[in-house]
Amino acid sequence: MPPAEVSMGAALNRALRDALAEDPDVVVYGEDVGPLGGVFRVADGLSGEFGEERVFDSPLAESGILGTAIGMAMYGLRPVVEMQFDAFAYPAFGQVVSHLAKTRNRTRGAVALPVVVRVPYGGGIGGVEHHSDSSEAYYTHTPGLRVVTPGTPADAYSMLREAIACDDPVVFLEPKRRYWSGEAVELPVRTEPMDRPVVRRPGTDVTLVAYGPMVETALEAAETAAGEGRSIEVVDLRQLAPLDDAVLVESVRRTGRAVVVHEASVFGGYGAEIAARVTERCFHYLEAPVLRVGGLDVPYPPPKLEGYHLPDAGRVLAAVDRLQWEAEWVEGAR
């Protein structure tokens, strides 16, 4: 019998449950993660199962949540805290940048902070303002943080387990529009270590770099392209920072073309790092510049307009088409 479909939300829930069961030092808290199980129900049933000393609602204050988690980690717990939505993590930004990211370094390794900050992030769910930000660039530019984001339910499970077991602080970005995406998988599952990108779909003509919510979109684009005779390789980055670029560089050197896609605004987005780095490391292999597909450089739009902002397979393929497949292109561009 093939394994049942598991949604990403259910995989995350199971990961929390298994971590709580295996390690008494794990605690889960934040806004509404107790009896309600979180507004996305990722903590569903956990406070009932593990008691409210281990899974509980805190006062409504993100900086306080982060700060107390730091204190707990100093004394040997492994707190997993939830920021209810991306934009509501900003009040905790000072604690994240000045303490969470730096404490190991400040103390020359004497104090590790194994804290996981779960952040439902990104758009596509028709949320009103402040409920759909893609904030990864703020964290990936901050040395000392691990920033990871799963693209599939199996990765969601495995990476969250790994994040909780990790001695570094992890910003765990959950692509909220994919909470309901399913995959047939037997849990518990362990996938590749989270610090390594994986090739989600092999291809030969162009490397499509994606992560989190855009992995599904990238695969959809690759599927469509395959029908049109173009072979797209999809690389899922998984751990955005610190980045291990080996898989990526190898892929682009092979295909000679690359597009990076994310939901966040393009300007100063994480895709810039990928484009700059890939170009630097693969310059003489590139047939065309690395293109970026992302959100518009505007505040996240209201629900009825978010479709114009968010990259879809069509936009990805349009970018692939611009990768100078014809020699004339080069001339035209001059």
């Binding site: 806004e31 509404d32 107790g34 009896p35 309600l36 199980g37 507004v39 609602d57 805190s58 006062p59 409504l60 204050a61 993100e62 900086s63 306080g64 934009a87 509501f88 900003y90 009040p91 028709g126 949320g127 009103v128 303002e129 402040h130 409920h131 300007f267 518009l296 450089d297 505007v298 505040p299 739009p301 209201p302 629900p303 009825k304 307009l305 114009y308 902002h309 936009r315 349009a318």
Partner: protein
């Protein structure tokens, strides 16, 4: 008023006069109907979301009607009824929740800030605004609305403190509806009341029955008058209850007992003002009263019908709007994205 709508005098606060009591009741009737209508539209998927304030109408209306025209209101997402009571077009007030745009009314026209989603962040805006008004020689006070949960945020603290140190004419009206989504008040604070928080800022704190529109109005009016007179800002805690779910996508059965809701439904703020208006004959004789109340209901129905109809008629927002108001003028790279999107749309 007591629980049953009987008048109770208080040595410090002046009860609203009969006309004002009628206004309060009318605004609540409209507010309640509006809440019902908007909740229905959300269930039908015609609003993206709606955070209903059913049960809290007295707190919102009582507070808002205490403001002068020139004053400013700083509402949260929960306070659409407050906006309607302030005179904002009810359909424009729903723009946010329709998902057409982030805010649908002109803040300057009604002196209402956009509804604020990030908790407690609007409180310091209110303080700054009154500072500016004072510098410009204008006698402007502000009412900042927030929930019980929001008082835990650092932003609430900073705003309270700035207000007190600057002696700003701001009243922070905290609607303590007992829940912050699923989190009950005792997990939010160990203070005896939220009004006690005022002590730590050297300002006045008032604790008022938030289901008594007359009392809220009297207390907020007095707090505003004191603040205007230079006697400092205040926190007014209005004790009320969120009868509906947090929003239409909430699951309150997971965290609270129906009996709690029933307890508060019995203490419905509308029943109380109606009882007072009737028992004291403030709208005239029994027949006149019936007529007046029926007129309020009719007004409320008109508002609901208007909302239904105009919402059904409205088309999709124009995507070009995405680009026009990010900066004062559209910068070159954004202009390029604008052209690209226009091109995409033409092709599609």
């Amino acid at each position: 008023m007591d629980r049953h709508g009987r008048r109770v005098e208080h040595p410090l606060f002046t009860a609203p006069d009969p006309a004002r009591l009628a206004d309060l009741h009318r605004a609540m009737v409209i507010g309640r109907r509006f809440n019902r209508q908007a909740s229905a539209l959300a269930r039908q998927g015609r609003l993206a979301v709606y955070p209903s304030s059913t049960g809290q109408e007295a707190a919102q209306v009582g507070g808002v009607l205490a403001l002068a025209e020139r004053d400013w209101l700083f509402p949260s997402y929960r306070d659409t009824v407050a906006l309607v009571a302030r005179g904002v077009d009810p359909v424009q007030a729903l723009t946010l929740f329709r998902g057409d745009w982030h805010s649908g009314y002109d803040p300057h026209r009604h002196r209402c800030a956009p509804q604020c989603t990030p908790l407690a962040t609007n409180a310091s805006h209110a303080v700054g605004l009154t500072y500016a008004a004072r510098r410009k020689g204008r006698d402007v006070a502000a009412l900042a609305l927030m929930g019980d949960g929001a008082t835990s945020e650092g932003d609430a603290h900073e705003a309270y403190n700035f207000a007190a140190v600057w002696n700003a004419p701001v009243v922070f009206l905290v609607q303590n509806n007992h829940w912050a989504i699923s989190v009950p008040l005792h997990r939010q604070t160990a203070a005896p009341t939220l009004a006690h928080k005022a002590v730590g800022y050297g300002m006045r704190g008032y604790h008022v029955d938030g289901n008594d529109a007359a009392a809220v109005h009297a207390v907020v009016s007095r707090a505003l008058a004191e603040a205007r007179a230079g006697n400092g800002p205040a926190i007014v805690e209005a004790v009320t209850y969120r009868v509906d779910p947090h929003t239409d996508s909430d699951a309150p059965q997971r965290y609270r007992d129906e009996s709690e809701v029933a307890y508060w439904v019995e203490r419905d703020p509308l029943l109380r003002t109606e009882a007072l208006l009737r028992s004291e004959g403030l709208l005239g004789g029994a027949e006149e009263t019936d007529r007046a109340l029926a007129a309020f209901d009719a007004d409320a129905e008109r508002v609901a019908a208007l909302v239904r109809e105009r919402l059904a008629r409205q088309g999709r927002p124009d995507p070009d709007a995405l680009f026009t108001d990010v900066y004062a003028t559209v910068p070159p790279l954004l202009e390029q994205q604008r052209r690209e999107l226009a091109g995409e749309l033409r092709e599609a």
